[in-house]
Symmetry: C2
Subunit: 556 residues, 2 copies
């Protein structure tokens, strides 16, 4: 599906602006911006990097997402008069009024964003975005950019895990809106779980804004709203082709139901009349789209029989029933039983359409149950996943951070007693090294001015976390991981639709070596520093060890 265009695209951009106004940030971004401004430092060129320190869900890889939304945010970043008026009321009274004029005129034309492309497979501690521009402006962007990538990347990675657990064949339906963390938690989830590997969403707004295929037929409430066949109206249906005389669908179905009870040895007394009425009524409304939920009372004693009876009647009139949904109990076992009955019907009534009926399973599916489901015998074609997918129950947040690495051309580094929390200074290039089978095996961080590593050439580098020992590597291929995606106020490449990005994601995951793709105890992926970058860190550490610091106390 192509990128949504025209009205839908405008609606998407409008929706994002409404959901991510420039005030959706932390207050301290403004107090810091003011302090920079009042000391004349606000225009100093600065570089921030965005990365996460720990891989989510204990997995071997993540998918970086949210770039699309960041770009739309940057392009429209501008304070309204009302925004500035509010800021005036909350910033300290001492704030110079000229600062508000400065804010009023701000936009992102002086900001350059270099980023890993949307949906790329990424690893911990690799700088995924580099945001360069005037110190005060790039500081102001921190919270919004983090908010836009943290959850998008988390839920996209979660979806990819569900997809890996399910295997490539099953269709996956996202249906988490009602349990999502806020309306937009639901909307963001629908977009980024599609990118991560889901096929369909129940969320209509996500279909409207992002062009994602939507799906859904009925809930239990529809079934329980019926109590007798008298509520079915109209009771007739015109055949799909040929005869234009309406046929009494109730009588036809009733006949099929009697034969089914005989065939399957079912007890007519246990069949729920309200459920049959609901199915008939839905089938008359949507004869081409008959896929009812069949567990409102009892799948085996009522729902399945009612479905088959209505389905056979539809077939008789030239329609093809679509399938059934199971929403409780042991989905695997039930799906096998249901499929067996479908085959019996196909054979007994010689109805080919019963060969290809779809079985949808939805019942609080977690990654764990998805893994179990793919190991057990089952006949489920479509799996619907809600709560565990969208709220990422196993780990509901990703810890992307935004760290200053350079000011006025001079590298900056944050030290920490916890070595994991120290930052890697300087403006960088990031390369992905591939082995001779095309699998990525290392991401390499270099200083920007260094020449790129060459395919087939051996060089030494320092793996992060074990910086004492250099390691020799010889990549078969080298690719640059990031690209300039925003500069001079413009988005540099055409934005991809959700489904275009989704296709890239799937091939990107396919290129991963199985040892990094495994859901359980994957091998750690190597991230390394170039020799020059490693030396820069050593120099800065040495420089900070006393030397010139503190001496300012003695100076005049």
């Amino acid at each position: 599906m192509a990128a949504p265009c025209g009205k839908a695209y405008e609606a998407m951009e409008r929706s994002l602006r409404a959901r991510v106004p420039p005030l959706l940030t932390d207050l301290y971004q403004f107090t810091m911006a003011y302090a920079y401004w009042s000391s004349g430092r606000h225009q100093e060129p600065a570089v921030f990097e965005l990365f996460f320190r720990e891989k989510p869900f204990g997995g071997g890889f993540s998918l970086f997402s949210g770039v699309h939304d960041c770009l739309l945010f940057l392009r429209s970043f501008r304070f309204t008069e009302q925004d500035v008026e509010y800021l005036r009321s909350v910033l300290p009274a001492a704030t110079d009024p000229a600062f508000f004029q400065f804010l009023q005129g701000l936009d992102c034309t002086a900001v350059t964003l270099r980023s890993v492309p949307e949906g790329t497979v990424v690893f911990a501690r690799v700088p995924l975005m580099e945001v360069a521009g005037p110190l005060a402006v790039v500081q102001l962007l921190e919270t919004s950019l983090l908010c836009l990538v943290n959850y998008a990347s988390l839920v996209c990675s979660n979806a990819a895990r569900f997809r890996l657990a399910a295997g490539p064949k099953k269709k996956l339906l996202e249906m988490g809106l009602r349990r999502a963390q806020g309306p937009d938690g639901g909307l963001t989830a629908s977009r980024y779980t599609h990118i991560g590997g889901f096929d369909l969403t129940s969320n209509v707004q996500a279909g409207f804004l992002f062009g994602i295929p939507v799906a859904g037929t009925m809930a239990h409430s529809y079934v329980t709203s019926f109590s007798s066949l008298e509520e079915v109206w109209p009771q007739t249906l015109v055949a799909a082709n040929g005869n234009r005389d309406p046929v009494d669908l109730i009588s036809l179905t009733r006949g099929r139901l009697c034969r089914l009870c005989d065939l399957l040895g079912a007890e007519p007394g246990k069949i729920n009349e309200g459920e049959l009425a609901a199915f008939l009524s839905y089938a008359i409304a949507y004869p081409h789209n008959f896929l009812p939920v069949i567990d409102s009372y009892s799948v085996s004693s009522s729902g399945l029989l009612n479905f088959c009876a209505v389905g056979l009647a539809l077939c008789e009139l030239g329609y093809r029933p679509v399938g059934v949904r199971l929403d409780s109990g042991d989905l695997c076992r039930q799906s096998v039983d249901v499929r067996r009955v479908f085959r019996t019907c196909r054979d007994h009534f010689s109805i080919a359409a019963f060969q290809s009926l779809v079985i949808v399973g939805t019942n609080n599916i977690s990654e764990q149950t998805m893994v179990e489901l793919s190991k057990k015998e089952n006949e489920i074609d479509v799996v619907g996943v809600g709560t565990h997918l969208v709220t990422c129950t196993r780990q509901p947040s990703l810890g992307c951070v935004y760290k200053l690495v350079e000011v006025r051309g001079s590298p900056r580094m944050k030290f920490s007693e916890d070595p994991e929390k120290s930052t890697v200074p300087g403006k960088k290039a990031v390369y992905r090294l591939l082995d001779c089978e095309g699998h990525p095996f290392m991401d390499l961080l270099c200083l920007l001015e260094e020449p790129a590593p060459q395919a087939g050439q051996t060089f030494s580098c320092f793996p992060l976390g074990q910086e004492v020992a250099a390691q020799l590597v010889t990549p078969a291929q080298v690719t640059s991981l990031r690209q300039e995606v925003f500069s001079k106020g413009q988005i540099k490449h055409p934005l991809c639709s959700a489904s275009e990005t989704r296709a890239k994601v799937q091939s990107s995951i396919q290129n991963l070596h199985p040892r990094h793709k495994s859901l359980q105890e994957p091998e750690s992926y190597a991230v390394a520093l170039s020799e020059k970058l490693h030396k820069l860190i050593s120099d800065i550490r040495r420089g900070s060890g006393g030397g010139n610091t503190g001496s300012f106390l003695l100076a005049n």
Copy 2:
């Protein structure tokens, strides 16, 4: 603080409409609505109830929230032409075009919402909302209403637990935006954690839209952006009162720093000059609001000394420094050390302002660390909480459901092999029974037509989950739990601001008996059925046991 009015109120309503358009729902709501419409049932009066089955976080109570947003949603519920055009493209081709005209004209004027008021203490299995109106319309509202109350109630309840763990004195700051599940996960969290007991938020948009007090001063990036005192500009500050001649703040601070090193036996060589420059620059920009983060390098060897030196210089010029923020390590121990140094300074320099300095602690605080923090000796005045608060790590979703209980005046019930999942049929009144000390001890569900239970009178009822044995109760007070909040398209009561609701919440929690308020292993709260409602359920169960069902197969 009063309800936001005028422009801010309009902005809030506009924001909600943009975040919760009527397409933000599941597709099956439309296919069901069509099936009702095409069988002429769409106008049948129907009643849905909204409730959750399991209390979140293993707690004794929850806070019901999101009503405010539901009301704004209902009032503005209307499909645009563009919405309908999209629906036309995704609903099955067989859909009668007249249905889209029906949708185009839809609004909620025929819907009546009875609800527990915003922020009320509530319990599992009590119907919190009753949505009555035309079957197709109330069906269409399901997903949006669930989405609006599920996360709001969850995060509000989570905030209340943090507040209980922290005790009443500490100020609590919500600062989770960057880790929230989507932009609106952050915005919703800011509003509903304030209602649940937090004092402040870092989220500027939440301050703008909801009037919540905002707070924040500086991040580590601000500190690390400075490397030397030469970057401080201007270097002077005019005293707060009296002398208008600018004073060289660097010299003044440097003198204080030398004396501090002597006083505290600190090593000048370990003091970071960039950090001092950052503090000075911030203090010159905001001399009345000096609250730096002091752990960028080392609290005890650098940050604390730099803070005290600048703080003493500010005091000398007639300003009052505000305090410090600690963002890593053992917050309790550090806060005690910091307070001790503040007292030493107060005594040594005779500076009263150092008596009342604020210590803010922020470092990945969870409910568990908050509990520990309140048990250990510490001097923290303000605790900032982010990720664990807003993403509700312990349980990231609440399972509110929306079940049909009546159609055309006739009660509906969903059976389930799992008794917990069966619904309680019929249109109801819900009463809260209080004991003679004013503590609630039971919520009672009655049929709407029953007389209300009377204070001081003994009657029998059937506790849910143990329906076989009747129990006698004598309430000292009886209150009606729900009220009509929306009808004929109008919101019936003035909407409360976040802070007004917050005040109600706190008194509502205070009325709870400690056995229901305890964070660990609270006692279960009783929810019971009236005798008549209990009998209705028995009758329906008996009626469904065969009898008339199935017989339709034999009829003509």
